[in-house]
Symmetry: C2
Subunit: 342 residues, 2 copies
């Protein structure tokens, strides 16, 4: 079957981001690991919320951000993730559907509230995330729609799904269904501490053929291969049977497949405001181009462009139409990137 209804179906934690600027001292006092995502329980989340400043609230969730970004590029996206029947859950559903993403996962009735990520942004634009998983813990195999999975060119999975125990099974089952339909499966490593928690299992996912495409940033790759050296990590990555897209912040991105390498520089920005979502949006641009059959360096460029938009404002969902942005981008000009889908 080569027919498809979706370019990418994302499976991930459905999260609402609650964002506030903080100073460096706040992180020290609250004993938080800067730049990381840590899991918190409801009481810790409440304590942090009370301590943090005035907030900006937007829909988030790593894979959800990627699919929203893909949609903004004109790609056809679907998302599977669990919210609760509360105000935050309704806002999440509104936001992802409003950008044209198919989202049909029924909300959990009762149980914990919709997941919140308290995002603390320091003046250097770094974000420190504190996630209360809430209703995400109710995502199970029962939430998978086999027809939808089979109808998407790419299944995109976030490493964070390894955190809520039941979601892990949904992850593996979704990959099985997608592969049965001869689709490709992508994984993002999500976060360096997420890799620390699940390193052996993530390596297993590649080596057991459960994932075909890997998204990672430099630190995550170092954690995956337990090395502080980028070249060592890349050498190890070349041995895996995956297509890998590695982001390196201001150093750009590199795509690796076996012995082959494609490199692109970072897209220029005016002011770094909040790095939340940089990796998610890189994946969005990459997959938007990849599912249109573009060259791998063109895919990486479209990813880098999307990342450059997201880090210049609060929140991890694009504030402008990315297809339009791509059409006007000097960074893409003459690089063989099709700005918009047909």
């Amino acid at each position: 079957m080569s027919t498809h209804r979706f370019d990418v179906l994302g499976l991930g934690n459905a999260i609402v981001d609650v964002i506030a600027p903080v100073d460096e001292e706040f992180l020290v006092k609250a004993k938080l690991r800067k730049g990381a995502m840590q899991l918190v329980d409801e009481a810790q989340a409440q304590w942090l919320y009370d301590a943090m400043g005035a907030t900006t609230i937007t829909s988030g969730g790593s894979a959800a951000n990627t699919i929203a970004g893909l949609s903004s590029f004109g790609g056809l996206g679907a998302f599977v993730g669990k919210v609760a029947s509360d105000e935050a859950g309704r806002a999440f559903a509104h936001d992802i559907r409003s950008v044209g993403v198919h989202f049909a996962t029924p909300p959990a009735e009762g149980g914990p509230s919709t997941a919140r990520c308290l995002v603390l942004v320091t003046p250097d634009g770094q974000r420190t995330m504190n996630t209360f998983l809430g209703a995400c813990q109710n995502l199970t195999c029962a939430d998978l729609d086999a027809a939808d999975l089979a109808a998407a060119k790419i299944l995109y999975l976030e490493g964070y799904l390894w955190d809520p125990p039941a979601a892990k099974e949904a992850f593996v089952e979704a990959s099985r269904i997608a592969h049965e339909a001869r689709r490709e499966v992508a994984l993002t490593l999500s976060d360096v501490f997420c890799v620390d928690r699940h390193q052996k299992e993530f390596l297993g996912l590649m080596r057991d053929g459960i994932v075909d495409i890997l998204f990672a940033n430099e630190s995550e790759l170092h954690a995956l291969y337990e090395t502080a050296d980028f070249d060592t990590a890349v050498a190890a990555l070349r041995q895996e049977n995956v297509l890998a897209a590695v982001t390196r912040s201001e150093k750009g991105a590199v795509v690796i497949k076996g012995a082959e390498t494609w490199e692109v520089p970072a897209a220029p920005i005016d002011t770094l405001v909040d790095t939340t979502g940089a990796g998610d949006l890189f994946a969005a641009g990459f997959l938007a181009a990849y599912t249109r059959g573009e060259a791998l360096d063109a895919c990486a460029r479209l990813g880098a462009l999307a990342a450059s938009e997201i880090i210049q404002h609060f929140g991890a969902r694009p504030e402008v139409n990315l297809a339009q942005l791509a059409g006007q981008s000097l960074y893409l000009r003459g690089r063989g990137v099709t700005p918009q889908g047909v």
Copy 2:
């Protein structure tokens, strides 16, 4: 009594802003008056919410934005406004308290939900606002704390309070209490259509000595004096017994008192993103300097600086510490503005 606990006490509608970018066509299709604030009922609000794109949610409310801005400048602020006992109401209370503002109005139990303003931002940075007043309709004289009112140098009232019927009485009663304590009372005209709705009463407020200080933008002033000519409106304004601060967007601001005039240019910006809150934050900066006894042109400059920050991002609450911004501002340098309170 010259002792005070607050520099400014604001009385206004307690509103949560739900912001989304839209194209010009959206406004035409939805038959909305661009740049204006219109009142909507709950059903219209739901219809618009369903039709609009992915949102960013922040606390808003005109006077509340002003008091939050004043606090960011190091001023002592208090706010009186009515929320409901719901998620949005708790977010509003968190956000205003988190920036150091005294907010003690009890939430309404039962009745309509916390007020929402659906803010539609067009690519030119203009905002079109659609307000469901909700719990604001429950603000009454019973919510006024006479001791707090007497303890604030300035009572700041928003014209929008003329929309929910009961709030009007609270407005007049608050002014009476403040004047009894020999405090000054300020009014912002809020919005051109708000002036259209309540023009005679707003003129009466000045002429009856209920307000001493007036904040307005150019269009609001035109509506107040039913003229299309700025000089005609200013000439009329000079006859009122008020100190008036008039904002003129990129043309800067002018302060008028009788025959006297003080003018300042607009503060420079990089990119206009969303004009929501420009007037509110002008008032914040103006009053921060005014309550420190600064010269009127210095007050207007601090106002213009605050406005320049707010229009460069979504939302009407400052994203940076305004006292710090003032300390670093070339626009203020050598202009006799004290960057921060003591």
